[in-house]
Structures are given as structure tokens and as C-alpha cells.
């Protein structure tokens, strides 16, 4: 962490420019700031730690090569998270695993289990969420894990803010219908 603190006072705008110019310290500072978000979003998409870590590492390779394409500091976080989300989808496809559509009827992580007669709603929601395709899980992960607003989602998805709101609303509607 020592090398990272050396560039802490460069300012955030300078950080992006420095990383784009190949500055290792600046890039590592960006890793420190964003890796955990990327990994957690990836993990919530695939629910497989090995896949999430592989995808996040692959995302950093892409970031190293392409960070110069990021227009401004505000776009950096959504861009990095979207790269990680795309990588996890790629790894899932590569591994021929469909973790994102897994249907687990486990209702909770509580020791001793859950009363099978009372946990139906929670089971249904979890099952419905796990049946979603990776694209939809990525959207929800960026929304609820990364906490992106519609502007950040727009950067991450490459569509308009209103387009992201429409997609989210359609998804919520579908889930409501499925749970009703």
C-alpha cells in the first residue's frame, strides 16, 4: 500500500490521466478503489467465487489496455464495473456454466434450515432472480450492489438513462408477474 499512498495527492482527475499514460502507481490506486466493487458485482451475477475472481482479474487486463478510452473520472467506475460484468458473462459462457440461472430452493442461510411451509415467498423470489439471464442479473447487480443511478447505468450499458429506467421497470414488472 506504500506505493499507492505516494500518488494519493495527485488528485482524482490526474489519477485517470496518469493511469492512461501507463503509470503503475496510478493504476494500482484505481485497483484499490474499484476492485472490490467489481468483484462483488461479478460475484452477485455468477454466485461463484472462482468465476468472479477470474473475471475481475481479466477485467483489469482489459482496463490496463483500454483505460485511455475512458472519457472522464465520472465514467471510470461504471466503465470498470461494466467490464467486470461483461467478463463474468464471458467466463460463464466459456465454462458452460449457468450459475446465473441456477434455481436454488434454499430459502435462507440460517443454520438448521427454514420451515418449508413458510418460506415459499422468499424461495420464489430467490428462484426467480436466479433464473434471470446473466444480462438481467448484471443490470440488477450494477443497480443494487454497485448502487448505480440511471446515469451511471447508462454509461455502463451504453444506452440512455431513460433506457436503463425502462429496462429496470420491465424487469421489475416481469418479476412481480412471476411472483404473483
Amino acid at each position: 500500500m506504500e506505493v499507492v499512498t505516494r500518488i494519493a495527492d495527485r488528485g482524482r482527475a490526474g489519477l485517470l490521466a496518469a493511469a492512461a499514460a501507463g503509470d503503475e502507481y496510478a493504476f494500482r490506486r484505481i485497483i484499490v478503489e474499484h476492485h472490490d466493487d467489481m468483484r462483488r458485482v461479478a460475484l452477485s451475477i455468477c454466485r461463484d467465487r472462482a468465476v468472479a475472481e477470474e473475471a475481475t482479474q481479466a477485467a483489469w487486463l482489459i482496463a490496463w489496455r483500454k483505460i485511455g478510452d475512458v472519457r472522464d473520472e465520472a465514467s471510470l467506475r461504471p466503465w470498470l464495473v461494466s467490464v467486470a460484468a461483461n467478463e463474468v458473462k464471458r467466463v460463464l459462457r466459456t465454462r458452460r456454466r449457468r450459475a446465473a440461472v441456477e434455481v436454488a430452493t434454499d430459502a435462507s442461510g440460517e443454520p438448521g434450515g427454514t420451515d418449508p411451509g413458510t418460506a415459499t415467498d422468499a424461495i420464489d423470489l430467490r428462484s426467480a432472480l436466479r433464473r434471470l439471464d446473466p444480462d438481467d442479473r448484471a443490470l440488477l447487480a450494477m443497480r443494487y450492489v454497485a448502487g448505480f443511478d440511471s446515469n451511471e447505468l447508462a454509461v455502463a450499458l451504453g444506452i440512455s438513462p431513460s433506457g436503463t429506467r425502462n429496462r429496470l421497470e420491465r424487469l421489475r414488472k416481469r418479476l412481480r408477474e412471476e411472483l404473483s
Binding site: 500500500m1 499507492v4 494500482r28 490506486r29 485497483i31 484499490v32 472490490d36 468483484r39 462483488r40 458485482v41 452477485s44 454466485r47 461463484d48 477470474e54 482479474q57 481479466a58 477485467a59 487486463l61 490496463w64 489496455r65 483500454k66 461494466s82 467490464v83 461483461n86 458473462k89 464471458r90 467466463v91 459462457r93 466459456t94 465454462r95 458452460r96 456454466r97 449457468r98 450459475a99 441456477e102 434455481v103 436454488a104 430452493t105 434454499d106 442461510g109 438448521g112 434450515g113 420451515d115 418449508p116 411451509g117 423470489l125 430467490r126 432472480l129 448484471a138 443497480r143 450492489v145 448502487g147 443511478d149 450499458l157 451504453g158 444506452i159 433506457g163 429496462r167 421489475r172 412481480r176
Partner: protein, 430 residues
């Protein structure tokens, strides 16, 4: 974030639970992985696509939009993320051709010479074999597929129908079909280019970057991301259709260049020329390991009843669960139908006993038999152990598989044995 509804809060809770807690970041190790990958050009074959010249590609991009593919092969080898383990093979760049490698295709084995390192250091030059079931129909809409027939011509026609100025979307074929030969069999080669969703008027809802171009019978598929490109080869092997697709993946927002396309074409040509298809004799005994998951579709509504503190569930029927094993004879699609009884031991403590029928099917044959198991908690949940004995049919006639499944809330570890004949007779007390 705007106002959260009750559903929002529930979704958020589920996703945050899956995301797990924050963890310390080892930036030095991560950066070292990046540097290592950057300095060690590798190539890998994953399921993706194709080629032609950049002139043609550029023309198509200008016409329709752009490309990038991602896919799920039936079998594949490949180079993947730096510093990470994967089920795909890693091939270091080498000035001399790598030795022959092989992969399974039904009852046949395909031998090939992997190309040397990808000239631009792409981490993801990939290829895979596909058993195509359905082809995307409307490029601007999700989940619009048409069934494709079983022959090479059927798929050639279906892919040809995706291209041209009359298409509504950006999935285009830039060249082909071109006649080639694969292990002495006639084949067609296509180059595919994805012009980029975000650049395509009329596809505003597909800005997320990629969609599947086709789906395979085992539920996998072949996808295409923004600005990707690929080569697909479709061969007629004595009436059987062999499909493989190769592509490069540079990551989102990264457009391929002319050299990438030319290099991919050269690799695919070399790969195609080196392929040899060999019919295999049925193998005998083998230890097997692998995994499946809770994925799939529930097609049988379980009926539930409670009596004397025991909750009985009958007819819990799941299909289309992918299973991947070290021996391809046991890889394919898993179906299971289960009856189970959940016994309440204490206020919040249950255990479950269950029995059921399991089937594993693939192109060459299938396995079916009964099994039983136990779990702590409400089945299926944590600490589940199940054993099954499966009898082979089709290409596996005369073989038996004994498998143990270790379920948890996630991937399911499977291990066991394939052997000729049947289980020994049951011993009994006099």
C-alpha cells in the same frame, strides 16, 4: 437511487447477500497478474467466430454496424484470464507448433494442431464445437430463435439468412459460405461481424453489449458482443453436422482491427487443415469427476403433504441441468425426479431423506437409474449427499455408472466410476 419499493428492497437484499462482504484488495498481486498477462502473449480458443479481410469487414461495419462475439462451446479449449484457473486449456505462445491436442465430438475424437501465439497478444482467441439447435432470428429482439434442422445445409442456410441488407439487426456475415475441407469432409466457412448494438438504430434496448447468435442442444450457445468478429466452420461428416466457431475477444468497447481479422482467419485455416476425425472404440472403466448445478427447469409441480410432523414431497421434476464430467461419456444434460420426506427434529431443524430417478443424456447415448440420499435441512439444501447407479444405453450400452453427488448451495461436485457390466449382486443374510 430513487425510491425503493418493497420488491426493490427484497431484490437488493438478495443481491447483496450474493455479493458477500467487502474484502481487502491486494493491488500488487492484481497488477502483477496484469503485467504477466501483458508480457506473455497467449492464445486461446473459446467459442466464437470468423474472418475475411479487413476491407470486407470495414465495408460491412460501415454498412451494418460492427462485431464481437462470445459463445459457449459444446467442448472447447482456450486461454483465459491471467492468473486464474479455468476449465479451458492454456497454450503458451511458441515459435514452433504445439503438439496435437484433441477434443471429443460424440463418439469421435477430433485431433488438431493448436496455432502458435496470437500475434497481438489477445488473451482470448478461442474456439469450440457446437451442437446447434436454434439460430437467432431477429437481431434487434432477445429470445427470438428459429429451430434449425440437423444437416450442415440446414445450418448453412440459417446462417446465410442472417445476413444481407434486408436484415433488421447488426449480426452480419461478411463472407461465406466459402467451401473448405475438414478432415476430408466438405465444409462451409463463414465470417461473422457484429457491428455494435449501440451503433444500430432501432435496437435501443440492446445496448448492454451482446446476445446469443445461436443456442445448442445442451443449453449452451454462441454469443456476439459489440464489435466482435468470428469464423464459423460447418462440416458434413458422413451426414453428421460438425460445427466449430473461433473468435477473438478484446473486451467491450474494443474494436478489432485488420490484423486481428487476418490473423484469426489464418489460425482457423490452419486449424481446419490440421483436423483429423477419428472414430473411437467405446472406452471401458474410468474414474470420473465433474460438476453440475441447481440450474435447470422445474417441469413437475411437486405435491406436498404433512403428516405426523413429516412433510412429504412427491414428483419434484427438474430437467436441463448441465453436467460436465472428466469423461465426456457422462457429460450432457441431467434430469432428475425426486420424492422426499422432511422430518422436523427441533423448532428450526430438519433433515430430509429422498429417492429418485436420474438421467444423463448426450449425443451419443444416455444413462438412467435410481438413487437416494440425505440432507440436513429442507431438501435440496446444504449437506446433501446422493448416490445413483445408472445403466448406459445407446453408445454406452453395457456400461454402468456409479456416481456420488455432493450438493451445496452452488456447484454440485460429482465423482464416481464408469465400468462395464452391472453392479454385483446384493449379498443377503441367510
Amino acid at each position: 437511487m430513487d425510491d425503493m419499493t418493497s420488491l426493490d428492497r427484497q431484490i437488493a437484499a438478495e443481491f447483496l447477500r450474493d455479493a458477500g462482504p467487502s474484502e481487502p484488495v491486494d493491488d500488487a498481486a492484481i497488477f502483477a497478474g496484469v503485467v504477466t498477462a501483458t508480457q506473455s502473449p497467449q492464445w486461446s480458443f473459446q467459442p466464437m467466430l470468423r474472418s475475411t479481410t479487413f476491407v470486407v469487414a470495414a465495408a460491412v461495419v460501415a454498412l451494418f454496424g460492427g462485431i464481437l462475439l462470445v459463445a459457449q462451446p459444446f467442448h472447447h479449449v482456450g486461454v483465459v484470464a491471467p492468473g486464474a484457473e479455468s476449465d479451458v486449456a492454456r497454450v503458451e505462445a511458441s515459435p514452433t507448433p504445439a503438439p496435437r491436442d484433441s477434443l471429443q465430438w460424440g463418439s469421435k475424437r477430433i485431433y488438431y494442431v493448436p496455432p502458435p501465439g496470437f500475434p497481438h497478444g489477445s488473451p482470448t482467441l478461442t474456439f469450440g464445437i457446437h451442437d446447434v439447435a436454434r439460430v437467432a432470428r431477429e437481431a434487434c429482439e432477445d429470445d427470438t430463435y428459429v429451430e434449425v434442422g440437423p444437416t450442415a445445409d440446414d445450418l448453412t442456410d440459417a446462417l446465410s439468412d442472417l445476413t444481407g441488407p434486408g436484415r433488421s439487426g447488426p449480426v452480419d456475415l461478411t463472407s461465406g459460405p466459402v467451401d473448405v475441407m475438414l478432415s476430408g469432409h466438405p465444409a462451409k466457412r463463414f465470417v461473422l461481424i457484429h457491428s455494435g448494438w449501440s451503433d444500430t438504430p432501432g435496437c435501443p434496448a440492446l445496448g448492454e453489449g451482446y446476445r446469443q447468435l445461436w443456442e445448442n442442444h445442451d443449453g449452451s450457445g454462441f454469443g456476439m458482443a459489440d464489435h466482435g468478429f468470428a469464423v464459423a466452420v460447418i462440416a458434413d461428416v458422413a451426414g453428421e453436422r460438425l460445427v466449430f466457431a473461433a473468435s477473438t475477444f478484446h473486451g467491450p468497447y474494443v474494436e478489432p482491427d485488420a490484423d486481428d481479422l487476418v490473423a484469426l482467419e489464418a489460425h482457423v485455416d490452419a486449424l481446419t487443415a490440421s483436423m483429423e476425425i477419428v472414430e473411437q472404440e467405446p472406452a471401458g472403466s474410468a474414474w470420473v469427476t465433474g460438476s453440475t448445478s441447481h440450474a435447470g427447469t422445474r417441469v413437475g409441480a411437486a405435491t406436498v403433504g404433512t403428516e405426523d410432523g413429516v412433510t412429504g414431497t412427491r414428483g419434484d421434476h427438474w430437467v436441463d441441468r448441465p453436467i460436465t464430467m472428466s469423461d465426456p461419456r457422462l457429460s450432457g444434460v441431467l434430469s432428475v425426479i425426486t420424492n422426499y420426506d422432511t422430518h422436523q427434529l427441533a423448532e428450526k431443524e430438519w433433515m430430509t431423506v429422498f429417492s429418485g430417478t436420474t438421467r444423463i443424456a448426450n449425443d451419443a447415448g444416455s444413462w438412467e437409474g435410481i438413487g437416494s440420499g440425505v440432507s440436513r435441512g429442507s431438501y435440496p439444501r446444504d449437506a446433501v449427499t446422493e448416490t445413483v447407479v445408472l445403466a448406459g444405453s445407446g453408445a454406452y450400452e453395457g456400461l454402468t455408472a456409479y456416481l456420488a453427488f455432493d450438493y451445496d448451495d452452488g456447484p454440485v461436485a460429482v465423482r464416481g466410476l464408469i465400468f462395464p457390466g452391472e453392479m454385483p449382486p446384493v449379498a443377503t443374510f441367510e
